[in-house]
Structure formats: structure tokens, C-alpha cells
């Protein structure tokens, strides 16, 4: 099925020099009540109008969640207790970020192009200057990456893209269960000797659906009704448990 789709992709697109074409197994991720993470397969092909020459093709694929500012705090020992002392605000950090490459990172992607396209994790995070008096602002960004990597929110998968005959490629990106809503951007870079020669962008729509959607909307659009409903459920559950136990003891 994958190959049939690839074939269609190949014949449908206009001719250019070396070009990358890609597609996803799904463009939508639905967060349902029992959402337990999801896996997205990104596949595609390298299209060329000239025969294969003396080239060193590589692929770098990134998937990123919505960018949000994050406040990173650091604890320090003061008067014997550990308290939050310094804080640095990172202006924009993706809520999720995965980089997959077809080979060792520096072989498939040059430092300059990494910088230009903001591809690797530290480059994807934007931090404009720390407040005065903080000597080591970069350690805050490092901590952000460390904490999110531990939760599988930031992934660095070197060599995870399978490239067959320098033409067909495929990779799978695991989305963890702790996902936030939004438009996730997938970028596929085709590189030759470390230089980006073609780019293909697509989006993945990550949305809450069903009960999750209903509760989220109610909580934000009609908070008063939502609050009352929460209280009603609480009171009803309290009463039901009490009535049930009374019934049990009256029978015993």
C-alpha cells in the first residue's frame, strides 16, 4: 500500500532537479479518553530528473508541536532550605520535538544549514537573552531539553530514517501520551553532503475529540456551568456511595 501511494506521488508531482516528496500515514491524531500515545509513519521518495550521480544524499525529518514560552526555574540553597532562586524565560520552545536522521547527524547535516533551518533540538528553541545577573543562561535551556527528553517530548533519533537505494525513505515517530493540542509541523529535508537541497512541509492535526473535546470546551466557554456540573457530580457520587453502603449494612 505504501509503495502504491509512493508511485502515485511520483507520477503526480511536477519535474524538478532533486526533490523530496513525502506523506504521512495519518494527518490527524485524535486525543480520546484512552489516548496512550500514537505512532506516525512518514514515508516518501527522492525524485530526480537526471540519473544518479556522485552524490551523498541524506534525510533529516523533524516533527514539532506548537511553540510556547516556558519559565525555567532553578533551586538554590538559601538559609538552609532549597528554594526557587533564578528563573529564565525561554521565549519559544516546542511542546514536542523529534529529529530523525538517515545517518550520523554531522554527516547528513552541516552546522550552517542546521542553524539556517533550526533543525536540531537546541536550535529549535528560541531564547532571547537572559535577565541580568544570571551567569549561565545556557544551563537553563539545557535543563529544559533534559527534562523534556526524559518525558519523551524531545527526541533525537539518529539513523532512524531508512533510506533505500537512495530513493525511498521511511521513518516512524512515536508521539507520547502527554501530548498537547495543536498543529504539529513535519519537515522533511533532503541533504546532499550536508547541504539542504530540498524541503517538504506538512502538518499533523492533533486534536482532542469526543468527551475530551466536550469537557475542554465546556470548561473554557461556560465555566460556571462546568463548575456547577463538577459539584453536582461530586454530591451525587457522595450520596450514591452512602446510599449503597446503607443498603449493604441493612441487609447484613
Amino acid at each position: 500500500m505504501l509503495r502504491a501511494a509512493l508511485f502515485l506521488l511520483l507520477i503526480a508531482s511536477p519535474v524538478a532537479a532533486q526533490e523530496v516528496i513525502a506523506s504521512l500515514t495519518q494527518n490527524r491524531v485524535s486525543i480520546t479518553a484512552n489516548f496512550d500515545g500514537s505512532e506516525i509513519t512518514i514515508f516518501g521518495a527522492v525524485k530526480r530528473d537526471a540519473p544518479e550521480g556522485d552524490e551523498a544524499l541524506g534525510l533529516v525529518i523533524t516533527v514539532s508541536g506548537p511553540n510556547k514560552p516556558v519559565l525555567v526555574r532553578r533551586k538554590e540553597k538559601q538559609v538552609g532550605i532549597w528554594i526557587n532562586a533564578d528563573a529564565v524565560e525561554v521565549d519559544a520552545a516546542p511542546s514536542f520535538y523529534a529529529v530523525s536522521t538517515s545517518g550520523p547527524l554531522r554527516e547528513v547535516l552541516s552546522d550552517i544549514d542546521d542553524l539556517r533551518h533550526r533543525i536540531t533540538i537546541p536550535r529549535a528553541i528560541r531564547s532571547v537573552g537572559a535577565p541580568m545577573g544570571i551567569a549561565d543562561p545556557e544551563s537553563f535551556t539545557e535543563a529544559l531539553i533534559r527534562i523534556r527528553s526524559k518525558n519523551d517530548l524531545y527526541q533525537h533519533n539518529e539513523g532512524a530514517v531508512v533510506l533505500e537505494d537512495a530513493t525511498l525513505f521511511q521513518t516512524a515517530v512515536a508521539l507520547p501520551a502527554n501530548l498537547t493540542e495543536g498543529d504539529y509541523k513535519a519537515r522533511i529535508f533532503l541533504t546532499n553532503a550536508g547541504r539542504v537541497i530540498s524541503q517538504f512541509d506538512t502538518t499533523i492535526d492533533v486534536r482532542k475529540v469526543g468527551l475530551e473535546r466536550f469537557l475542554f470546551n465546556l470548561a473554557h466557554q461556560r465555566p460556571f456551568a462546568y463548575g456547577l456540573l463538577s459539584l453536582f457530580i461530586a454530591i451525587a457520587a457522595g450520596w450514591a456511595a452512602s446510599a449503597f453502603f446503607r443498603y449493604l449494612t441493612s441487609r447484613a
Binding site: N34, L71, R74, K75, E76, W82, F216, L231, A234, W239
Partner: protein, 305 residues
């Protein structure tokens, strides 16, 4: 089985939540505390964002307290009059507490102040209760020793006296209102029902019989936490109904079991058990402040621009 929480935006094990709710529910029914002082730190620990944990916990306490109160109503161990007076103070206090909380938030360091509040209050109350109940147990073991008569203190000299028949007290309304306000303020700051402060205050300051204290405390906690839930739901949108339902299913069942265990225990034993629990939580929080954390950095939502 994992469940995705729509407001907290995290995925957690449903059985873990049911179990936590159950355990805290049992304690709640036994001691007449809402259980918030245990549950809120536990929710932080399993990765629920603090703001959501505090707000949702308030909602869950409504359920377990209501379930507990119904059990106490059957045994006529709720002093409605006293509960009402305490509640008046409690609501005033909660409204004040929210103001204090917002003021502290504007200064930063609100987390630290909340933790310090916990350590100081849990520590002092736990220690006092522990010593007092040990003495009471020793007294009851010595044959022939008379129970100490209730002494008349300044509390009995105040005006606006009212008869509290269920508690067997003839007392000014001023102390209970003040107790209510203080507990309300602390409850709003610390994100708990305040039972662990209310129960000892009723026993030691107001001199209420232990038997009545639990039901009455639960009765007024229902209203204070309902008020807090509405405040959080309408201003911060941080009440997670899915999380609340899972916690309260465990909680209400636990509360019923807890109330039944509570009747079979002696008042002194009940008090000493509560004291030990309060001290344990206090110790854990104090250690967190004193020991070097394994991760010095923490992530938070950026301040509003």
C-alpha cells in the same frame, strides 16, 4: 489502563487514581479531614500540574465530605448550628485567602510559602495533638484517675453566647467565627479543606466533644470546598472533571469504609493516629526543603505578558 485528562493534558493510570482516591477517602472518613493535605502533594508527585491538582482536589473533597457527612447524620453527630457559625467565618476567610494568595503570587515564591505553611502548621498541630493524646491514653490507663474537668477560660467570658445543644456547649459565637476565618484563609492558600486545622481547633479551643467534631468539620468543609471549586473553575479553568470523577469514585467508597472504622476506635487512638499522619506529611515536606533535589531545575508556564 491509561486515561487522558482533558484539562491537565497528561495521561495517567486510571487504577492508580482510583487507589489514591480510596486510601485518602478512608482517612477522610476516619478523621473528618478532607484529605487534601495528603492528596494534593500526591497528585503533584504523579505529575499533575499543581494548579489543576489544587483545583480538582477541592472538587473531590466535596464528594468525600458529603459522603462522610451522610454517615454522620445517621448517627446524629453533626452540630449544624456550630457548623453554620464556622461556615460564616470559613467563607469570609476563603475569600480573604484568595486575595492573599494572589498578592503572594505577584511577589513570586508562592510555592515556597505554601510549603512553609504546610510544614509549620502540620508540624505544630501534629506535635501538639501527639503529646496531648499520649497524655490522655496514659491517664485512661491509670485506674482511679479522674478525667480533667473542663476549665473556664477566656473563651467562656466573651459576649454573644449561643447554645450548641449537639455539642453540649454554651459559648460565644466569636471564637468559632474567628476559627472559621483563620481556617478559611489557610484553606485557600494551601489548597485544602482545612480539616486538619479545624478538627484540633474544635477540640482544643472550642472544647467540643470529639464525637461531634468529625461530622461538623466535614459539614462545613463541603461548603468551603464547593466555594473554592467554583472560584477555580470560573477564574483559572483548572478543574479537571475526568480527574475528579476518578478520584471521587475511590474517595466516596473509601470515606464510607473510613467512617465505619472510625466508630470502632477510641477517641484517643483516633487522635494519635491523625497526629502521626500529620507529622509524617510534615516530615516529608520538610525533607524536600532541606535535602538537595535531584533536579534543580523545574519548568513552569511563563508569566503573562
Amino acid at each position: 489502563m491509561h486515561i487522558y485528562l482533558p484539562i491537565a493534558e497528561v495521561s495517567v493510570n486510571a487504577f492508580l487514581l482510583l487507589g489514591l482516591g480510596g486510601i485518602v477517602g478512608v482517612l477522610s472518613g476516619m478523621f473528618g479531614v478532607g484529605g487534601g493535605f495528603l492528596m494534593t502533594p500526591l497528585l503533584f508527585f504523579i505529575g499533575i500540574p499543581p494548579a489543576v491538582a489544587v483545583a480538582t482536589e477541592a472538587n473531590q473533597i466535596v464528594a468525600s465530605s458529603f459522603s462522610g457527612v451522610l454517615a454522620h447524620l445517621k448517627r446524629k453527630t453533626v452540630d449544624f448550628r456550630m457548623g453554620g457559625v464556622l461556615l460564616v467565618g470559613g467563607l469570609i476567610g476563603a475569600a480573604l485567602g484568595v486575595q492573599v494568595f494572589n498578592y503572594l503570587k505577584s511577589l513570586g515564591q508562592v510555592d515556597l510559602l505554601v510549603t512553609l505553611c504546610y510544614v509549620v502548621f502540620l508540624g505544630v498541630i501534629g506535635a501538639l495533638m501527639f503529646i496531648e493524646s499520649l497524655r490522655a491514653i496514659r491517664r485512661s490507663k491509670r485506674p482511679g484517675a479522674r478525667p480533667v474537668r473542663k476549665k473556664h477560660t477566656w473563651v467562656h467570658a466573651l459576649p454573644f453566647k449561643m447554645k450548641f445543644r449537639t455539642s453540649g456547649l454554651y459559648l460565644s459565637v466569636i471564637p468559632p467565627v474567628i476559627v472559621g476565618i483563620l481556617v478559611g484563609v489557610l484553606a485557600a492558600i494551601m489548597g485544602v479543606g482545612g480539616g486538619f486545622i479545624m478538627v484540633p481547633a474544635m477540640i482544643y479551643i472550642l472544647g467540643m466533644p470529639t464525637k461531634v467534631v468529625v461530622g461538623t468539620s466535614l459539614f462545613q468543609i463541603i461548603f468551603v470546598t464547593a466555594f473554592t471549586t467554583m472560584l477555580h473553575a470560573t477564574t483559572n479553568f483548572t478543574v479537571d472533571m475526568m480527574l475528579a470523577v476518578l478520584l471521587l469514585i475511590g474517595g466516596v467508597v473509601g470515606a464510607q469504609i473510613g467512617t465505619r472504622i472510625g466508630v470502632t476506635l477510641k477517641a484517643e487512638q483516633l487522635r494519635i493516629a491523625l497526629a502521626i499522619m500529620v507529622l509524617a506529611v510534615c516530615g516529608k515536606l520538610a525533607l524536600d526543603l532541606l535535602l538537595m533535589p535531584s533536579e534543580l531545575y523545574s519548568l513552569g508556564a511563563a508569566r503573562g505578558h
